[in-house]
């Protein structure tokens, strides 16, 4: 279904206890923000697109923070400090997800 024009950014659940659910939610928001990134590159003055981009980005940041707190770093380097021992190797490999 196509969303109406109101500021509606989908079903944002505050709690995603499941690893796969949270990762999928992050993927949805990353996809939406990169698509808006591409639109805004050629329409930098479009305020509605910019508002949507900003809303999705705020939600994406929240989701990534939630992920980090529950499951560790999202990327192998540069995204968050690591607790000891090195956390990255504790998370599943991409092919294990």
């Amino acid at each position: 279904m196509i969303e109406d024009n109101k500021e509606n950014y989908g079903e944002v659940n505050s709690e995603h206890t499941n690893y796969e659910d949270l990762l999928l939610e992050i993927q949805k928001f990353e996809f939406a923000t990169v698509d808006l990134n591409l639109f805004l590159d050629t329409h930098p003055d479009n305020q509605r697109a910019l508002n949507d981009y900003n809303m999705y980005t705020v939600e994406l940041s929240k989701l990534k923070k939630e992920y980090r707190l529950k499951f560790g770093p999202l990327a192998n380097f540069g995204s968050a400090p690591s607790m000891s021992p090195w956390q990255w190797v504790e998370t599943p490999w991409p092919w294990e997800v």
Binding site: M1, E3, A32, F39, R48, A49, D52
Partner: protein, 59 residues
């Protein structure tokens, strides 16, 4: 690599009334959006860009 001169017709080969090619594209209006769930499956956030070769049964 082939040089540009090798692939271009020389002036004698080109008909006299020929014109340079021009590309025109429509500006994409910002209208509605797919839900994020649907956008990820369809590969675009924008319904006005969704134009698959074949409509899938799944989405």
């Amino acid at each position: 690599m082939r040089h540009m001169d090798d692939v271009m017709m020389n002036e004698q080969q080109v008909p006299k009334d020929s014109k340079l090619p021009k590309v025109t594209i429509m500006d994409q209006p910002y209208t509605d959006k797919f839900s994020l769930d649907e956008a990820l499956k369809k590969g675009t956030l924008f319904p006005n860009l969704y134009d698959p070769y074949m409509v899938s049964k799944h989405y």
